[in-house]
């Protein structure tokens, strides 16, 4: 479904990605773990077109998409929930969601998707008229994911959805991701919360200073002594 081949990316002189090769199959949850500054978010930014890769190829269903503008990538069915939630704080929950469905013109379809998001996150339904900025951290994260879902993407790129959330909310969020997965969504999940991410993902990649160091079945990665030592706090 999605394939990155030897992708390099730079911010000025900083070489953030040094030849990343990953792929995501339809219906999978794939997780990308690694420490701060490893290049996880950069990888997602390259996929969604927010950052143009220096070299390498990004293929979507066999077609190259590197070099496309973000709105063109979004139109292909790739939804990106960027790092740090980035909800619109001064717009209501409902307006936030409507902006997520910007590419859809049919009001009936937008209304249906909104209903779907509200049934997935009933808390958002309760707060639909409230400004995004007044929501709690967990609710804001729901809103950020909900906004990405409003695009009805085939592939959902999630960048650290559990950042700064209380443990119980982290549990809930991962349950929601599994619900989405069962409903047929493909998810590429970037996480620092490696233990949880490896628990729900089928496959995993470990990114370290811009290169993939480990890859494979999520359970096996979780059992890998090196990974355990570095990301799961040893054992």
């Amino acid at each position: 479904m999605l394939e990155l081949r030897d992708v390099h990316a730079c911010y000025g002189h900083i070489h953030a990605l040094k030849g990343v090769t990953i792929h995501v199959q339809e219906g999978e949850i794939v997780t990308l773990i690694g420490s701060n500054g490893a290049g996880k978010s950069t990888t997602l930014r390259c996929i969604s077109g927010l950052l143009a890769p220096r070299s390498g190829e990004i293929l979507w269903r066999g077609q190259p998409i590197h070099g496309l503008k973000p709105f063109e990538v979004a139109a292909l069915g790739i939804g990106h929930s960027p790092e740090g939630r980035r909800i619109f704080p001064r717009l209501s929950v409902e307006e936030n969601l409507e902006i997520g469905a910007y590419l859809e013109r049919d009001a009936a379809v937008i209304a249906r998707r909104k209903t779907d998001v509200f049934s997935l996150f009933p808390r958002l339904a309760e707060r639909r008229k409230q400004d995004g900025g007044t929501l709690s951290g967990g609710e804001q994260q729901m809103l950020a994911i909900g906004r990405a879902l409003m695009q009805n993407p085939s592939l959902l790129l999630l960048d650290e959805p559990t950042l700064g959330l209380a443990p119980v909310l982290v549990e809930n969020l991962f349950e929601t991701l599994q619900t989405l997965h069962r409903a047929g969504k493909t998810i590429l999940l970037v996480e620092q919360n490696a233990w949880h991410a490896l628990h729900i993902a089928q496959r995993a990649y470990v990114l370290q200073t811009g290169s993939i160091t480990h890859q494979g079945i999520a359970k096996e990665i979780a059992d890998d002594p090196e990974v355990k030592q570095a990301y799961l706090g040893g054992d």
């Binding site: 960027p82 619109f88 001064r90 902006i99 910007y102 209380a166």
Partner: protein, 426 residues
Amino acid sequence: MTPGWIIAVIAAAGLASGGALMAWPRSTWPLLGVLGVLFACLSVRGHKSSRFAIALALLLFFIPAAGTENTFLFELVTQMGIFAAMALGLNIVVGMAGLLDLGYAAFFAIGAYTWAIFGSGQAAEFMSGSFPLAGWPYFYLFSALAIITAALTGTLIGLPALRLRGDYLAIVTLGLGQVVRVLANNLDQPVNITNGPQGITPIERPPIGWLLGFMRFIGLGDNPALGYAIFFYLLVLAVIGIVVLVNVRLDRSRFGRAWVAIREDEIAARASGISLTRTKLQAFATGAAFSGVMGAIFSAKQLFVSPESFTLLQSITILAMVILGGMGSIRGALVGAMAVTLLNIEVLKSFSDFLVDLRQSGYVLDLGIVSFNFANLSDQVEPAKYERMIFGIILILMMIFRPSGLIPESRHRLEAGSEKKDGMTG
């Protein structure tokens, strides 16, 4: 929602001040009363149809009735309307899309020159054909054309500005705005297109035989000066009606949402599939279009345009209206335009006249401890010249005490009304 009795009070105040204005059309106080009621109609929430009816009664009955005695009233409200349309246009660019534009008067100039050149003998300087284009369809045709030329110029000015934000964008638009004025100033050579600093005059006005006929019919005579005052008053009101309607529709459409989204967070907006290029250009073009049509009307009303009408101060005045009214708020832009225009052409001038009267009469203000003879007041003291200083003070006070404007954008009302919660709790 406002309680019903407040609406009743506003209606009564409207009736009283409207009646007073008819009785004393030259007095300032009833006029301020009428404008106050219009402010109230714009700022109160709920009871849409009653508020609309009160405003309509004032605008279509009381003000015109008093205006036949004192055409200055038409002039004042027409000016307010012209500025209101521009404030609404700039509100899209600055208020909704968050793109600080300091060259906005350029689009007004483009619209004004579009009609001025062809509605006068000027076009004959560089093309063949018989000019001016008098007769009824031309003015309206060129007003529509002014919308298009202004929107195109807006797109052109928007293009280099696309990669910029905030202060940098403000500097670029400021420069481009000056370019338009300097072009108007210098395009009298080698081919005389704009007639340079002398400006263009006389500019044709559309024929108003039908209106004069109607005025004769209701016993107002057929004085063309009064006729044109009424004509431009009604025309501007009609255009403002359309502009407000378009603004309200845009505000609720996906265009409006996209504008607000890029203002709030560009990265999140892009991730949601919004094209920055297209959205910013749409904002520039739409904002410019409103200014362009009013430019054409302005040139016909004034019979004269020159580069001097489109200075940086003009752009800043319109920006002051938007900020005063409340960025992003449609009703705010209307209120801001009314307030600033009133301050400019009525209040400051009356105050100047008042001081001149005091000086000439040699009035002595005696407070016991201090006394001041107004005859000693310097000739330099003339409030009408302090426009910029007063704007500055108003803007500073607004930023300190009411940063979201007189009528904040409705999106912010919830936030202002409800207590803020801590956004980072789990």
